[in-house]
Structures are given as structure tokens and as C-alpha cells.
Point group: D2
Chain length 369, copies 4
């Protein structure tokens, strides 16, 4: 498989740069018979898109997606689904100063080391614009998983710089610009972000995604364990520098008696495993958390070099997110959806006839953090 494809049986391949004419993708392997329209994809695209609050980049894109194939009379046919999103608001002149310089903390230098060339406008292929297609493709997976398997996939911003939620309410997540699960602290986040924007700096964040109602048995040991593929998928998102499942890095200081989740006929009692044991889903909520670095696209000057190796100072003008974590939730949900969709099909390929010795035991109640 190529670097721009994800998945084995439900495969998503994408193309598109920040300032090219369009972004697009192909979803191959979708089961037939699923009702699907562009509107189904637009919802998640609208959650992701830039320019919706003063806290994110002011680039205006409608991110309107078209479905070019794979649908007949409103349902998927099983043939590949072509997706297209036209770029509308590319302002190339914002980036002309960057043509000769490497922005520190960005992919400019590494892309030119790899390819000998880069499309410097807006970061080219390294720009997070390409995530729009991931979200569109993920929406197809989400719909199938929800309708056919009853899997619910949701995410939220679980940390913004030093801020953590004080309470937790899923209902709040879609009602503020941050995907923040705690209404009480939203004003503090807004004040924090306003100050940050004025300062010209940026901040990191953490996003948590949760999949509920996952059947047991997903995951392909030993290399394509479900958690390994989830880590792959989430780490492939721009700015992600860490992934943890369940108790994650807290495991280090846990004793075995604390960490392991007891099982009873009524269900699991805890969920430190994050829904995965031995790389295979247990039916419990799958809980993954990612760490996103602060963007390097900031107004404050930084030391760098140019394409001739000379020392320069770099200031990024243009339109940027002071916290890329704010728009990351739909992207993380989409990637988790793609993993679960692919694994659903992979598991079905080999084990469709398997009858486990006992039915799956219930998952434990939803965790809040």
C-alpha cells in the first residue's frame, strides 16, 4: 500500500494540497446498500471547517463535498466512491515570503529534504486541509458503523494548554467552539484563547475519542492489533505527538491489581484497558487520547535557515489556528471510524462464521474523562 492510502479492506486514498484546485479521495470497499448522500458527509465537514469562530483560522472554505461515483439510486453499490472538495479561498500571496525560507517546526525543511522540492503555498500537501477528505471518508464509515452495528463514535477536547474540564457532559460538546465537554469553563477558555491570539503565540491540546457499542473481536494480531492501527491512524494526523489507549501513560505507575479490569457475568468493572486486550476489542468503550503540539505558524519571530542554508528570522503571517486541537475532534473521530470500519471488514473476512463460546459480556458504564 502507498503512503496516501489507509486501510486493507476499507481503503481510503486521498490527494490534494492546500492551494491546489481541489482535494479529493476514493473510498474503496464500502459494502453495498448503505443509504448515502453528500449531505451525510457535510455535517462532519461543517464541524471541522475553518473560519467558524474567532478562535480558528479565518480562511473561508465551504468545504462542500461532491460524491462522483459509487452511489446508485441513493445507495452505495460496492464500487469505489469518489469524493471531491474544491478549494475556494487560497490566498497565494500570503505565502510568497515563505518560498525561500523554512518555517521552524513545520514540514518545509523535511519535505524539501525528501522530495527536493515543495509546494510552499500554505504548506502544500503537509497542510491540514487534506484532513477534510479524511473527515468526509470517515463520515461514510461512521454512518455504516452506527446504522449496521450500533457503534457510536464521539470525541471532545479533553485538555487545552493547562485547562482541563471541571465537569463532563457529552451534550455540551457540540455547543461551544471548542468541542469542550464542560459549559462552566468555556468563558475561561475563550478568555485564554483571546489573550493567546493577541500574544501571537500558540498552545497545545489533547483530544479524546470514544467508541461505544463496539462488538468484540476486532483487531488482527500481532502487527495489526486494533490499538496499533488506532495509534497509526491518530498519529498520522498533523500535529499529533502522542497517542494513548485507556489508562495510557498512567499505566506506568499502576500495579497489576489496580490496572487489570475485573470481569463478572454482569460485565467489566473498570476499563483501564480502553476496550482492547491483546490487541482485540472486548466490547468495552474504546478510549483513545492524543496530544497535539502547538502550531509553529505564529506571528512571533523564530530562528531558522533558508534554502541556501543561511540564517534567517521567520515570522508567519496569514491565517492560522492558534490551537490546532480546537478543530481536531472531527478528524480524530474520522480516523477512529476508518480503523473500526476496516477492522470490521477484516474480521468478517476471516471469522464471519465464528460463534464464540459465550456471548459478549456487557461493557462497563461510560467513562467521563
Amino acid at each position: 500500500m502507498s503512503g496516501n492510502s489507509f486501510g486493507r479492506n476499507f481503503v481510503v486514498t486521498t490527494f490534494g494540497e492546500s492551494h491546489g484546485p481541489a482535494l479529493g479521495g476514493i473510498v474503496d470497499g464500502c459494502p453495498p446498500g448503505l443509504e448515502l448522500t453528500a449531505a451525510d458527509l457535510q455535517h462532519d465537514l461543517d464541524r471541522r471547517k475553518p473560519g467558524q469562530s474567532r478562535h480558528t483560522t479565518q480562511r473561508r472554505e465551504s468545504d462542500r463535498v461532491e460524491i462522483l461515483s459509487g452511489i446508485f439510486e441513493g445507495r452505495t453499490t460496492g464500487t469505489p466512491i469518489g469524493l471531491l472538495i474544491h478549494n475556494e479561498d487560497q490566498r497565494s500571496h500570503d505565502y510568497s515570503e515563505i518560498a525561500e525560507r523554512y518555517r521552524p517546526g513545520h514540514a518545509d525543511y523535511s519535505y524539501e529534504q525528501k522530495y527536493g522540492v515543495r509546494d510552499y503555498r500554505g504548506g502544500g500537501r503537509s497542510s491540514a486541509r487534506e484532513t477534510a477528505i479524511r473527515v468526509a471518508a470517515g463520515a461514510i464509515a461512521k454512518k455504516y458503523l452506527a446504522e449496521r452495528l450500533g457503534i457510536r463514535l464521539r470525541g471532545y477536547l479533553s485538555q487545552l494548554g493547562p485547562w482541563r474540564p471541571r465537569g463532563f457532559d457529552w451534550e455540551q460538546v457540540e455547543h461551544n467552539p471548542f468541542f469542550w465537554p464542560c459549559a462552566e469553563t468555556v468563558p475561561e477558555l475563550e478568555a485564554y484563547m483571546d489573550a493567546l491570539r493577541k500574544s501571537g503565540d500558540s498552545i497545545g491540546a489533547a483530544v479524546t475519542v470514544v467508541a461505544s457499542g463496539v462488538p468484540t473481536g476486532l483487531g488482527e494480531p500481532i502487527f495489526d492489533r486494533l490499538d496499533a492501527d488506532i495509534a497509526h491512524a491518530l498519529m498520522s494526523i498533523n500535529a499529533v505527538k502522542g497517542v494513548e489507549i485507556g489508562a495510557g501513560f498512567a499505566c506506568i505507575e499502576q500495579k497489576g491489581t489496580e490496572h487489570r479490569d475485573p470481569m463478572t457475568p454482569e460485565g467489566f468493572l473498570t476499563n483501564n484497558a480502553g476496550g482492547i486486550l491483546g490487541g482485540i476489542s472486548t466490547g468495552q468503550d474504546i478510549i483513545a487520547r492524543i496530544a497535539l503540539k502547538p502550531t509553529s505558524s505564529i506571528r512571533l519571530p523564530g530562528r531558522s535557515i533558508d534554502r541556501h542554508g543561511a540564517a534567517v528570522e521567520v515570522v508567519t503571517t496569514g491565517r492560522h489556528d492558534p490551537c490546532v486541537g480546537i478543530r481536531a475532534t472531527p478528524i480524530a473521530e474520522a480516523m477512529l471510524a476508518l480503523v473500526l470500519m476496516d477492522h470490521t471488514l477484516r474480521h468478517r473476512a476471516q471469522n464471519a462464521e465464528v460463534v464464540p463460546p459465550i456471548p459478549a459480556i456487557p461493557a462497563e458504564p461510560r467513562p467521563n474523562s
Copy 2:
């Protein structure tokens, strides 16, 4: 690709269970002309194997590897390399009680949900014995990377439960049973582990792996970014619940001005990126850290269910590691080696003729933590 294969151009496929006759693997895609003998692989296998100190499982395996193909007159031919390790010390009667019960925190339940059956002896395929083959294959990659590209790959135990090193010296890592980089604190670790073993409980750990001398340009955006493949590789190791690159989860609270690594003609000034930007190597040290959960194979009883769904209490007897992190360092090195090897070949496939605008700038001095 199948779940038991790793890599696209340098592909490792493995088989083997804890109590089967043998473990084995096939390494496909190794460049020809590399001098290679079984002894080259044995060194890392010996670092990994059980029973070498009182702090690890007392199962005695020589883990002697044979090379069955792919070598002629002492050098690789470019044809697939077959590896075999015979299991010697399988004590099946230790596990017969487990045949009917699901050990909490283990893969027993999830495997039976997936396959309808499991080889219960020693955990079958879910046992960490299969990592022996990963280490053998990784040793081939390590040798090539070192000899042909000057890449040095080393790891160490960076946290054991609450313990962190007080100083750092690479030289210490191979001189204690823990791969611990701080001689001063070794007695404390030993005392801690002795007490732990007596208590019958287990503890988590963290391991850090570092690759130095990595060329620029490795990584295949957007889905097979180098960090995404590293996360995949490391998360596929038994007991791993988290992976971070560079500053990792510390990024969350970092400002952009703090996080981004300035570049000068003399080199990078810091390495929060962990050697990867935009998913592509920058020439700086690649630094990855994993969190390993405490093993659930402990003498202390746990609540669980059996294959009929009835409540039971489970006690694991037999021979186990009270801290699986102690033997994880060679496995993590091996997986990082496999990723870098695969990406070296993948990058070469597409970009062998590329000449970057400027030579790579130097990496910054080696980080110690």
C-alpha cells in the same frame, strides 16, 4: 497485507505460539550483499530472552535462532530469509487450570470472542514469546542500518513504576538487568522488584528508544508518516498502552515559541519534535517513548468469568515477568529498526535520484532523558 506481516518493502511475517514446537519468521526485501550470520541475530535475542535474572520469568529458553534461507557464502542474496527458533521449555501443565477460565487483563477472552477458540497454553499467539522473532528480524535491519547508513539504535528503561533515573549514562544500560541508564539507582530498583515479586503483584514501566544518525527524508505522508508507522510498530508490542514522540504529551502545555525547534546553519537548537516534522525525518535523533502496563499474570487473585459465563476467581501460577518492561527494550529497538529499514527502502523507491536544495543540517547534541 495480513495482520502478521509488518512493512511494505522490508516485510517481516511471523508465526508461532508460546507452547507450539517453534517460532519462525520470514524477512522479505532485504538488500543483497549484507554479511549476515545467525550469531549477528543471537546478540539481541540474548538481551531479550527470559530467565537471565531473578527479576524476570524463570522460563528457560536458549532462543537459538537458525537462518534457513536467503544467505549464500555469508551474504544475503536478496531472496527471503527464513528464521526459526525452537521452543524448549514449554510446561503445559502450568496452564491447564486456565483452559476454562479467562484471566482478567489478558487476551484470553478477546481471542475466544474473535476466533471462537484459543490455544490457552501460555497465552498461545498472544504470548510475548513471538517477540523473539521480531527481535531476530530487527537485528537484520539494525545491522544494515548501522553498516550502510551509520544509523545507531539504542533503547533503555526510562521509568519503572515510580522510579526515574537520577543521572543518565548510555554505558550503564547494558550492565544491569533492567537496561537502566543510571548505576546509582540500580540497587533501589532491585529492592523494589524483590519486594514486588514477594507481594505477587506487578508494575508498569516506560521504555525510550533513540535512533541517531538518521538521514533526512524518511516517512511517507500522509498516512504512513514516519511517526505514524513508529506508533503502529511500538503499540503492536504486547502490553504497550501509549506511544509518544519527542516532547510527546508534554506538548499539550507548551507554547509554540517553546515547542518549535529553532534551526541555524550549525544545526537544530532543540529537539521537541523528536526528529520528525510533517511525518518526515529531519536528521535529528528520533526519540520515542512507550508506556507498558503491568502484567495481569500475577499470583494475587482476580475476579473473572469462565467459558460458561460463570463468575470465578483466577490466580495465575507459572512463570511470569513481574514487570514486562524489563525485557522490552530490545523489542522496542527491533520494531524501530524495522520501521526505519522499511522506510529507507520506501524512500529509496521513489526518491533515489532526489538532490535536496541544501545538505542536511546537523542534529543537535544527544538528549539524555
Copy 3:
């Protein structure tokens, strides 16, 4: 990999149906720095497109391709190249009778058995329209192979029903509607085809493709031998029912002394091998020939069943090729180009540093049949 992707390192993924809004594809893995414009692709698309003579389907499509990504300042960047061709002349009402019936010899029945549904307009995904994207992608490969490696790829119609060329001249191939290499017999072919069209029937054909200047060493034994991948690529073209390499089926009656191609320091003396030995290229011309079945889309009635299992008679109206072989040459060239491109990169991945004991010996003079 998915069924709609071809290749391992140079990967082409396509989408699009006969009567959907558009066809498209993504080319992933193209080396950077190749000069490329849509015009470079249009030439081969124009050779393939329908409606250019009275001997092919009268559907009018301009098959104008757009490049949506992967190019910057006129050269490839190494990032994925998005291709798009809009469908223009879909006449849906021509196919409404077919909605309920399975055309014998077509994919209607098999698609509905597989997916439970089919886009019946024009054959949907099973229509040869999708080959337009293969030709566009193949043109990228052709350009790279020609400019960087001096590989020349050409094909021609080597048999039309009972007709074989009486002479052979490459120069003639582009100067008649058939890609026929013999000017003398063109009038006979035209008369034959006119009679065929009047009769309402169709006929089979054979196409031969030749690659010259191929370097030695391409091919990945044992399963991805170069000839195995060529067979895969060519058999994936609609209507192909047979593939042979070099002497092909004539081998059956050859003695070893006749078949094997002697080697001398001045070069090979014959080329029964068709340029491939042990699945690896020898530097000789790669010669492959395919057999194309007569299309089942004919005006003459045929016995079939409908979607309820009842017996029906089926007559295909609408616009069709009486001999699909006539437009197959550019498609076969494109598929051969994709195989050689992919194998060039795969070989480079593993063996870029290899120096063979002796330089490649010359190929023998070009064969004519």
C-alpha cells in the same frame, strides 16, 4: 490493497462509472521532478477515446483530463496526483430496458450476484469507460520510463478475427483506425468491419504490446514475477481472456533446444522468452499478447434471464464497439507501463546499490510479429 488499486510503490487507484458525473484516479508514488502537464496525458487519451471512426462506438466524449494535485511549477512534487475526467455524453434512456434484464456475456448478472445491486446504465463500473483513467495514469508512467530510462512502449492490433498482418511496419500503427501495422490490409479490415457492423454481430481480436530498452533486473520473484504482474495487469482489462509472453502458447510444442534463447557476448540470438527469465527482465524486448473476446453488446438477440429469474430475449441497442480490440492498444500499453513503473521503483527500493558482475548484454533486434 484494494481491488481498485494497482501497484505497490507506484500505485494507481481509480473510481467512476459509465454514467456517473465523472471518472477519476489518484497516482501515488510518482518520483518528484518529472515535467508533467495535462497535455502529456491527453495524447494517449485521444488515441483511446470513442467515436473517432465509424468502426467504434459513436458515444462522443472529449475525455479531457484535469490534474488536480501533485504538480507545482510544471513538475511533479512527489505528492499524490489527482486526475479527473468528466463524463459528457451519457444517454441513460438507451439502457432503461436493460434495468431488469441480464445481458448475456456481460457483467450484469455477476455484479448483482456479488453486490445485490448494479448501476445498470452503460454497465456502470464494469464499463470500459473506467479505462480512460488507466490510460491517463499510464501516460505518466510512460513519460517517466521514456525520459529517465529510455524505455519505449508500443502496441498494435496483431489479429482481428481471422485477419493477421501480412507485413509489419511500426510507422503504420498510428495511421489507421485500428492500430494495424500493415497498410496493405487496412482496406480488407475496413470492409470486414463494415460488414460486421451491418450484421449486428461482433468479433474478437488480439493486441500485442512491446517494451524496448527495458533494463535488466525488474521483477520480484516468486509471486510478483514481472510476467505474473504483466499477466495480472493485462487480464484486468475488460474483455481479455488470455495473456501470453514471448513464444507463449507456441511453447507447448517447442523443444528445449528450439525455445531457449542462446546468449553471446554480442547479445541474445532469439527472444522466445519475451524478455523475461525467472520472472526478471533480461534487457530484451518484453513482448506480451492478449486475446480479447467479442463484445456481447450486439443487436442480435440472445437468450437470457431477468432479475426475477424468468426467461427473456435480450437485444442491445445503443452505441457499442463491434470489436473492442480496436481501442484496446492504448489501454494495454498503459497497463504495461504501470507494471514497469511499479517494478522500477520496487527494484530500486531493494537493489539500488547493486552492481551486477557484468553489464547487461544487448537485446536482439526487434521482433515484428
Copy 4:
């Protein structure tokens, strides 16, 4: 995927050279619960192995296979199955003359051009010994396909040099050394082969494989059409130079009215399609025929060059098959089994829930040639 792996969901990876210690393979993706022992594989291995009649190479190998993993209490577990066959009768001194010379028509020259080196003993990896593992893996697939799906896979020698069967009886195939379906002509074949062996020359052959009881719906358009994967699989067998499906090359001269297979409620009336339409199985017998070239390992001298580029004469001594087609039947069956097994799982992944509009119509009566 690597060149030594075949399949996407049922993946076979192999290693091993003619004169190495052992051949081996890994089968990954086998559904759990299949009863399996080494004896199940031995039957087909015994059909394939050398030295069973005077008409094949006199190398003596027991080809005794061991299963090293993936089985528990007599049934597959779903974990990877490791296979091993030790080489017993390697006579290295037979090949020492060949160390410096390239045998014409063999892979010696092409392997050294690719890898810079070759294991010259017995052809190394290019030797047909590796097909033993393919046959063992194919036997696993055959068993599953037969027991779970009622698919029957059989092959036979359909042409030996100028000889074609005069009658056809499946029962004869296992009762002569040739897999020949016509008892009457066996003495003529034996006389022919005795004369051939005396002459020191070799001859080509054709083998036909038939799969009956195949369900509809197998195949993954457009690139992994079932016939494309069959062509790939069969062309990957040593000495194969052509593959055809159904009417194959006879299609060229067929009219559409002759070629297309009429459908009735009682079933298909003919089978020119060879069981595949639009790349998807129709339920009819899948019929594939391969052309095998005459081996170049003959006693009669041939012109060639050596590793220094000088002209030499080459005579192959040692033990060889004068007609490799004679032992090819089990190999071709095995490859067809692997394709059908892989496609069964791939189809199940995406379409397990599909209900076609009508049940599959019957296949037509078994063809005899």
C-alpha cells in the same frame, strides 16, 4: 505486499532455496475451526514430488511437511500457520560447473543482474523446489473450499508437446505418471518421453485446472478481477508463458453470437467465459489453461556467456525434468485454490450481508477438454 507473499486476506509467504536447509512458509488468515493435520497436506505434496517415475527428475525428496503453529487440538486457531519442509537430497557438486556460467533459458543471468549475486546451486530461489510450499499451503485452501463451500478443484495435463488426449475421463488423471485424462494414449506418451529423455532434449506442455461448485460473486473489480488474480497466480509458476480462461485465445476468431453464453432459468447453455464475467464468478466452472515452456536444463549443449562476459558452451548435467509440465498439475491446482480462498475472504469482508435478487442459476454440465 512483498514479492514473496500472495493474497490479501488469505496470505501465503514463502522462503527457501533448492539447496538450502529447508523450505518454509506462513499461511496467515485461515479461518479458525478447520480440522487440519500435516497428513492433509502430504497427499498433494506426494502428487507433486520428484522421483516418482522415470519421466521426472530423479532427485529424491520425501517432501515431508511439518506444521509448526496455528493448530490446537486438531483445528486451526485463526493464528498463522507455519510450514516447514527439510531439503534432503541436495547434491551440490552437480552444480559447481554452473557457478561461473549462465545457463541459457534459465534465471541465472537475470538474478545476477538484479541482485548482483545468486545461489547457483540448483537454481537457488528460482528453482521449482519452492513450489512444494505453495502446494502445502494450497492444500489448506483446497480443504476449506471443499468442506465449507463444496468447491472441487482438479487439474490435468491437457497437452504434452504435440499430444492431445483422445478421450477424457477424470478418473484416469490420478492413475498414470502424467495426470493425463486419457488411458488409451498413455503408452504413446511414455514412448515419446522415453525417446525424449534419450535425446537429451525437453518439451513443453499445457495444464488445465477446473474449479467446480464455485459460488457467484468472487472477484474484486477492476484490478483484482478474479481472472486477473488467476492469471497472476498461474503465471507466477516457473516455466509458465501463457494463461487463458475459458475459450481463451480461441476468442479471437469467435463472433459475439458464438462466444456469449446464453442464460436460461435452468442454467447457462455454454461456458466460453470459463466461469467469469466482468471479473466476477458466475457459478459456472472456472476453467484456466496454462502453457509451460520446455525446460532449458538439458544435456544438449547451448551457447551462452559466463560471469566475465566471455562466450561459453553450457551443458546441464544433474537431475532434471524433461517436461516440467508433468509435475505442474498439483502446483496449478494449489495456486487456483489460493486465489479462490483469498477471494472468498475478500468477498465476505465487503458483501457478507448481500442477498442477490435471485439465487444463482445452475452451471452447465462439466466440460471435458
